[in-house]
Amino acid sequence: MKRILGAALGILTAIGGFVDIGDLVTNAVVGSRFGLSLVWVVLLGVVGICLFANMSGRVAAVSGRATFEVIRERLGPRAAGANLVASFAINLLTLTAEVGGIALALHLVSSVEPRLWIPVAALAVWLVLWRTKFQIMENVAGLLGLLLIGFAVALFLLGPDWGELVRQVTQPSVPQSESPAVYWFYAIALFGAAMTPYEVFFFSSGAVEEGWKAKDLAQNRVNVLVGFPLGGLLSVAIAATAAVVLLPAGIEVSSLSQIVLPVAAAGGTLLLAAVIIGIFAATFGAALETSLSSGYTLAQFFGWSWGKFRRPARAARFHLTLIVSLVVAVAVLMTSVDPIAVTEMSVVFSAVALPLTYVPILVVANDPEYMGRHVNGRVMNALGGVYLVVIVVAALAAIPLMIATGAGS
């Protein structure tokens, strides 16, 4: 239990990356259209985010510098500014989606129109940001988010043809009903979701919030190795339940209400309730993660005082950023935009943000001025280099594929 609590930062970070509202639906869409033939992308993404989150956490623990400070320092004001614009846009789009997602989850259990829940959800998020201690926030949101494990339980209860599922995972192919361009669009969307930059912003800043030092590097490893694989597992479980129940029925997922149907079919009301609480906690956690990330990136770029561990008045501009972000999110949602469609836009900004985020992390993790004797080893650098290539290719391919496929429709 203590181990799990110690990994709460990693778990919450991963939940925001892998199973936030946009990804909950994307995972189910992928499962209902492609079966498990895209699981390899999730694995690729899990390894990549483990690698770079580990580096960013290590830099934060050893030098006390969070990721966007490092980006600003290494890239200078212009390139870092471009990254800030793109990352901030991703944060804001995702935050908007999450606040809408909380409302959608509440709609499932109450039948009260989501629009009425939106201001309530935003206010609740703000109150947590304003009052709650960082550790309590991450423990509650992280642990309740783990109820999404219900999807994995549902998969076992459904008793699928395991041989067939394994075959889909190990011998991936594009289903006949889908075009390769759409397949690759979803591959990049899944990879981008796994590697989304706000995860490292949140993770490294969280390490500073928790006051990690060089002696806490073991804790960094536990967080990374528990959190992100767990996030990947949840993501695959969601896709698998959709593949087993919805794909054969000819159902294409377009809304949150559809993704819980396989769970109800497998485990009835009790499992359904657990999963809905999990969805609520995951979207709430992702809303916390993205709103904090928007504060962290802006404050770290401009050198403002930041952090939830400070009294709000001692990090005034940081807290003002959080408030403004939430207000903007609510305002956007009030135009009746579909919160889930909003997250698809963020793929475009990833093209700028991904390379400009991960290159500085890799470079600083090698700098003895920051890291002392904790610089990267050879294996880490070799893997990091390979992933940089993958990231750049994915980032460059994202926009053309998105336009060519009409965002996967």
Binding site: L75, A89, G250, S254, A265, D338, G406, G408
Partner: protein, 173 residues
């Protein structure tokens, strides 16, 4: 990447402008509704897409009703799921009504498909009313609401068959 700082001011501005342009382009990309298409083959493909969407909605409705009848989902979840399907059907129906058929064949496909989708809308509306009544609403048989799950289920089977037929006529398998 931004390692070269000589023309950096220019480049930084270009990167930011590029991001803004990308956003503008993205907003212009239509969402997943089916646009009206002009070529005969494309028009028929658009009809197929809309019918596939409607089929997915009807199948979701069948699954939802079955789960509700088995007491596996509460009425709130069933109601939300059905409401979401009405939205999907609305999209499909809009795609069909805004389509300008370029020839007689695609016009016939469109008319048949539009009828099938209309039938689907009626069934899902009925299903929602039935869920509301089962959950303790004030609707009676006089409101024209089907009284039993079996009646609804066979209704939906007919609708699904109709859609399947429209899909096949429009060249789908």
């Amino acid at each position: 990447m931004h390692l070269v700082m000589s023309q950096a001011a220019e480049r930084g501005a270009r990167v930011i402008a590029g991001a803004a342009l990308a956003l503008a382009g993205l907003v212009a990309v239509p969402s997943c509704t089916v646009p009206s298409r002009q070529e005969p083959g494309q028009a028929t493909a658009a009809v197929r897409d809309a019918v596939a969407q409607a089929t997915s909605a009807v199948e979701t409705t069948r699954l939802t009703l079955r789960l509700f009848d088995d007491d596996r989902i509460p009425s709130t979840v069933a109601d939300t799921a059905l409401l979401d399907q009405l939205r999907v059907l609305d999209e499909a129906s809009t795609a069909l009504t805004t389509l300008v058929p370029p020839d007689d064949a695609s016009a016939a496909h469109r008319a048949a498909s539009a009828d099938a989708v209309d039938g689907a809308v009626t069934s899902v509306v009925d299903a929602r009313a039935w869920v509301a009544r089962e959950a303790g609403g004030n609707l009676s048989a006089d409101g024209g609401v089907p009284t039993s799950y079996d009646e609804l289920a066979s209704d939906l089977t007919d609708v699904a068959d109709g859609l399947g037929q429209a899909y096949a006529e429009a060249g789908g398998q």
